[in-house]
């Protein structure tokens, strides 16, 4: 398992560390650890989410964290999003999902899509520069064959 984030925001000012922590807490709620399998936060998928959000929706990392915090207060007065339980974080994500606002939809879609995208793609096990792939454990869990030159036995698969 990777112990350090590999990628950093390259476009502009790095988001506030507290914002990154809020995104990490959201990732933890979206893809929690399951049995002995690591969850998204353990695999540093929040780094992928922050990087993708920052480049696809510039400025939205801090905005996302701010909104997570604002909705957290409605769920438990006085608490920050990172202090909420998994169930309470789900309440926050659900409330944000119900808003009929394009930017809010982008934020919630961004959190979910980039979290799942980081978790179930090669991202957590791939070194782009070296082209080295260590198949993520999530692939084994879902039964994905990984990159393939072909499947000679496709009929019996």
């Amino acid at each position: 398992m990777l112990t350090q984030p590999r990628r950093v925001c390259l476009n502009r000012a790095v988001p506030d560390p507290a914002s990154i922590e809020a995104v990490r807490a959201a990732v933890e709620a979206i893809v929690p650890a399951r049995g002995d399998r690591p969850g998204g936060a353990e695999l540093h998928v929040h780094v992928h989410v922050v990087d993708a959000l920052d480049r696809f929706l510039p400025g939205f990392v801090d905005l996302t964290a701010m909104l997570l915090g604002a909705y957290a207060v409605d769920v438990r007065p006085g608490a920050s999003f990172t202090e909420l339980t998994a169930e309470e974080r789900t309440e926050v994500l659900r409330a944000m999902s119900l808003e009929d606002n394009p930017d809010m939809r982008d934020i919630v879609d961004g959190l979910l899509v980039f979290t799942y995208g980081g978790m179930y793609s090669e991202w957590s096990g791939y070194e782009r520069e070296a082209g080295a792939l260590r198949p993520p454990r999530a692939w084994e869990a879902v039964g994905f064959h990984g990159p393939s030159e072909g499947h000679p036995d496709y009929r019996e698969s």
């Binding site: 994500l93 039964g143 990159p147 496709y154």
Partner: protein
Amino acid sequence: MERPDVVVIGAGGGGPVIAKELAERGLKVLVLEAGPWLDPDVDFTRLEDDMGSIVDGRLRWGPADRLRSPWMRRRDGVGLILQAAGVGGTTLHYNGISPRAYPSAIHADWPTSYEELIPYYERVEAFLPVRQVEEGELATKDALFGTGCEKLGLAHSEARDVTTAVWRRCHNAILPVAKMTSGRPPRYPDVEGCTMCGHCLVGCPNPVGAPPERKAKRATNVTYVPTAVATGNCEIVPNAFATFLIHEPFEEKRARIRGVRWRDTVTGESAEQEASIVVLAGGSIESPRLYLNSDLPNGADVVGRYLTTHTQDVVTGFFDREVNPDVGQVSMARADFPGFGTLFTQGYGPQSFSVVLAGGGGGFWDEDTGDEPWDFAGRWWGPQAVEWIEHYHRSLSILVCTDDEDHPDNRVTLADDWPPDEHGPVPRVTYRPTPRSKDRQDWLARKAAEILRAAGARRIHRANFPRALLTHLMGTMRMGGDPGRSVVGPTGEAHMVDGLYIGDSSILPNGIGGPNPTLTVQALATRTAERIVTHLP
């Protein structure tokens, strides 16, 4: 190159068709492509995020330098837009599905008949080639789909021209399935054809060792482009983003094309090329954007209007048996419902699967679905979502492509409330399905669920995207006889601009009934190339 006879803007699904047809007739053709020219053997890693990420994937809509941000679009009613920049364009990540339009969709708005299109279809089908998947070639997921259709009593057909509800093995622009030996790497020249790797959506590099012209999926980068270049009459310039169509006044309120200005996306330098004929083939977003950014006449305010998208959705079934959605050509079986749209199997990797299943749908999994034939819908997260995502290997997804209505309010304009990028004012893409389009989508989603249930699915999920997923973009520069409702005339030339032709999916007057549009775009491009030849002095 010496002064070209024709400049083509865009090397995606349509532009290279026109380039090849003209170059073979001896015309000098310059093709400008906004994105890079990737080498399938070197650059296609078969990895979902590395290839397909909308942020920094090799097949994204953005510059070659992946450390730079993608090119932005203002979205209104739109979730994701999937378009690839690069030689081959969006055919780099298309399924290769190449059905013809439904004859019933070629209606009064079209300035041509279905019968007139058939010879052009046949030419493209023979060149690529397009062939129907054979019965013994179906992967597990596609055989399951066929089983469901048969149990529902849906008629089977092998026809290319579809007028009634049927199910078919797909007509794909993919070489025949290779004869492979278990336990041996399926590499060229030991094997030729499709190796059933399942990576169509992230760029086809197989068989390993095959020259580009023998790669299995017949994207234009391995078909039309090399054929055009081999004539010696065609030059491809990658990383060249067209920013202005140079023109001069011509006749009453019209203009005449004089050339193209573009920006090198690597160096940032600008360049120009004079030409008396320009073919606009940048896709249904960039073609109207460039037209509007060039201040060309648009008196009828029709440029950019009538965007159609097939109002897509995904319905997924979970089975008690192995399905392996990552094995085989991603789509090998389909069902057609003229008047409503089309359904086809959608294989993909776990990244796309998880995003579709849990990431972007409408509503939540734990909500009551009433009398609908699916068990849950929309998005979810947490332990339950993880558990269902882990059933990936037992899932079959069906993509819904709706015969959506063409409506003038669904359109591409310039986003005057956003800052311009290095290529000028950015496009604003607005799409909302009409009530009738939504009804048709719902009907198709129910039909997909019925097929899955008949095939043995135990649980069924519908994504029900609340915002449009744009993979099939059509219209915005559409063809027609009425300048008040169309941008180009029956020959493919713009009503208001002499010498400007359209060679991409923006020319389609409607969504062709729901079938995948690339083959029809390529047939029309073949036809337009003929018209261009007659235009030349």
